[in-house]
């Protein structure tokens, strides 16, 4: 039973990380129908910025709390800026282009960013400071859930709730939904579509950055390549839950995380990813639009 719980928590941790990245995918897809392959790289850049800033701050002797707050801020700000810039440079010019062109642009962007970081920083793994302290009150349970797992769970929960609220109730949220459904009409009711799309990228990137920060200090090391694998997984999760649907992305992520954890725990981690992807294929065969995605019956 203990074992089950242990696996359950490690599944949750994975899940919430995937979720933080998957949300970005799903939001962008929802609004411009683009699989933004560069999103994983944003997550990576978030992590790197965090690493750099935190190191610099510690060197200049800031207190831990300050370091944590400022680092988080910096990561979010810069990741968001990158997200915004990418959209402006690589996607906006392709709004009216054939469907696959932005996809290629995204792949190119992803390759570019990876190598940009590789060259600007380094190719080897960098140690990432444990920004999340070991809470004493967690000590008794340390063998089941680490403090960082807890932190990850809590933070991502909060973030997701905030996001859902924003989408559902704020003007911006409404604008996003409208733009997602009919861009031309959105313009005609006075929504500044370009801004809305930018905001979407910014929000998505910010989430990814938080994810990057958390996972980096959980795992304790990063390099320029971490974005890719995490990205693919998160994207899988987003599709699993029904791409374009916010709750779907979260649900999908947790299902994926738990599947992997239990597959590893009870079967073997050799086939961890095989399980993940087979699950995806299965679910899509029975629910072609993902778990919470609307099966849009085209009104002929």
């Amino acid at each position: 039973m203990d074992y089950f719980i242990e696996l359950f928590f490690s599944g949750l941790t994975r899940g919430s990380i995937y979720a933080l990245i998957a949300l970005g995918y799903t939001m962008v897809y929802g609004i411009i129908g683009l699989i933004n392959f560069a999103h994983g790289e944003i997550y990576m850049i978030g992590a790197f910025t965090a690493l750099i800033v935190s190191t610099v701050l510690t060197i200049y002797g800031f207190p831990l709390l300050a370091v944590i707050v400022l680092t988080a801020l910096a990561a979010v700000i810069w990741a968001a800026s990158y997200g915004y810039t990418i959209e402006r440079l690589a996607y906006r010019p392709l709004r009216s282009a054939p469907r696959l062109s932005p996809l290629i642009s995204a792949i190119g962007m992803s390759i570019f960013l990876q190598n940009y970081v590789l060259l600007a920083q380094t190719s080897d793994f960098q140690p990432f400071p444990a920004l999340i302290p070991e809470f004493d009150f967690m000590e008794p349970y340390a063998h089941i859930v680490g403090s960082s797992d807890l932190a990850i769970l809590v933070v991502s929960a909060i973030v997701m709730i905030l996001l859902t609220f924003m989408i559902k109730f704020t003007r911006t949220g409404k604008a996003m939904r409208a733009t997602a459904q009919d861009r031309k009409m959105a313009m005609l009711v006075g929504i500044n579509v370009d801004n809305v799309i930018s905001i979407t990228f910014i929000t998505g990137s910010a989430l990814a950055a938080i994810g990057g920060l958390l996972i980096a200090s959980h795992i304790g090391q990063i390099n320029f390549y971490i974005g890719f694998i995490a990205g693919i997984k998160a994207f899988t999760a987003a599709v699993l839950g029904g791409i374009g649907s916010i709750p779907g992305a979260v649900l999908g992520s947790f299902i994926l995380g738990l599947t992997e954890a239990f597959a590893t725990g009870y079967v073997s981690s050799d086939y961890e990813d095989v399980f993940a992807f087979s699950l995806l294929v299965l679910i899509l065969i029975f629910k072609p639009a993902g778990l919470l995605g609307k099966a849009t019956v085209e009104k002929v």
Binding site: Q181, M187, L188, V189, I191
Partner: protein
């Protein structure tokens, strides 16, 4: 109120509009008629800034607007009911109406207007919480107009509001067009295939033929004009 000067609009390299000149006075109903592909919708889109003119200018109350983005133009009080309705399919009827009032801040006013429109189109009140996507054509047309009216436009651009509607509905729609023109003194620019109806309620009319204005005159004069009758009234 609105003036188009020598508008040229392109799709890529295809030129859809050639030197369009057009004037609309406060409180008028102007109708623009023309064959398919004449460029009627394009004209409206050029006004709304979706396909901004490449050359020439658009003046609203004397100020140039052809370089503003669509949302800015809406803020000035120019709203369009586009061809094919463009309902937000996954938003409910009432949410669609809210989107119409996107730029408005006055909660109270919005409420009142919604009620007013529900009285105007009772069917919408029934379907209040149904996703707009699977309303039928007529229902959607009503919703589209109501949505535009939620914005309290000074100038309302209507693109083929009668398209694919049952005769009964068409009559209603046109009555309502006149009604809002009278009651709220909304200026109306009406694009129609159904020249008959359009010219009946319009003050003046323009005739568009492959991208050029070939004729404009008082509506009643156009109604009796031989060429117009032959080409657009099927008489």
């Amino acid at each position: 109120m609105l003036e188009l000067r020598q508008i040229d609009t392109f799709y890529g390299n295809i030129q859809a509009l050639h030197e369009i000149d057009l004037k609309i006075e406060e409180g008028e109903i102007i109708s623009l008629i023309g064959a398919n592909g004449a460029g009627k919708s394009t004209t409206l889109m050029s006004i709304s800034g979706i396909t901004p003119p490449r050359y020439g200018e658009v003046l609203f109350k004397g100020k140039p607007i052809h370089e503003l983005s669509p949302d800015k133009i809406v803020t000035l009080g120019i709203c369009q009911v586009p061809e094919g309705r463009h309902i937000f399919p996954e938003l409910t009827v009432s949410e669609n109406l809210d989107m119409g009032a996107f730029l408005r801040k006055d909660k109270k006013g919005i409420e009142d207007d919604r009620e007013y429109l529900y009285d105007l189109f009772p069917i919408l009140k029934q379907r209040r919480n149904q996703p707009g996507g699977n309303l039928s054509g007529g229902e959607q047309q009503m919703l589209a107009m109501s949505r535009a009216l939620m914005a309290h436009p000074q100038l309302l651009l209507l693109d083929e509001p009668s398209m694919g509607l049952a005769p009964l509905i068409i009559k209603q729609i046109f009555e309502i067009i006149e009604k809002i023109n009278k009651e709220q003194n909304t200026t109306i620019f009406l694009v129609e295939q159904n020249a008959n109806l359009a010219l009946k309620i319009a003050d003046r009319g323009y005739v568009l033929e492959n991208g050029k204005i070939i004729m404009h005159d008082q509506a009643d004069k156009l109604l009796v004009n031989k060429d117009v009758q032959k080409a657009y009234l099927g008489i």
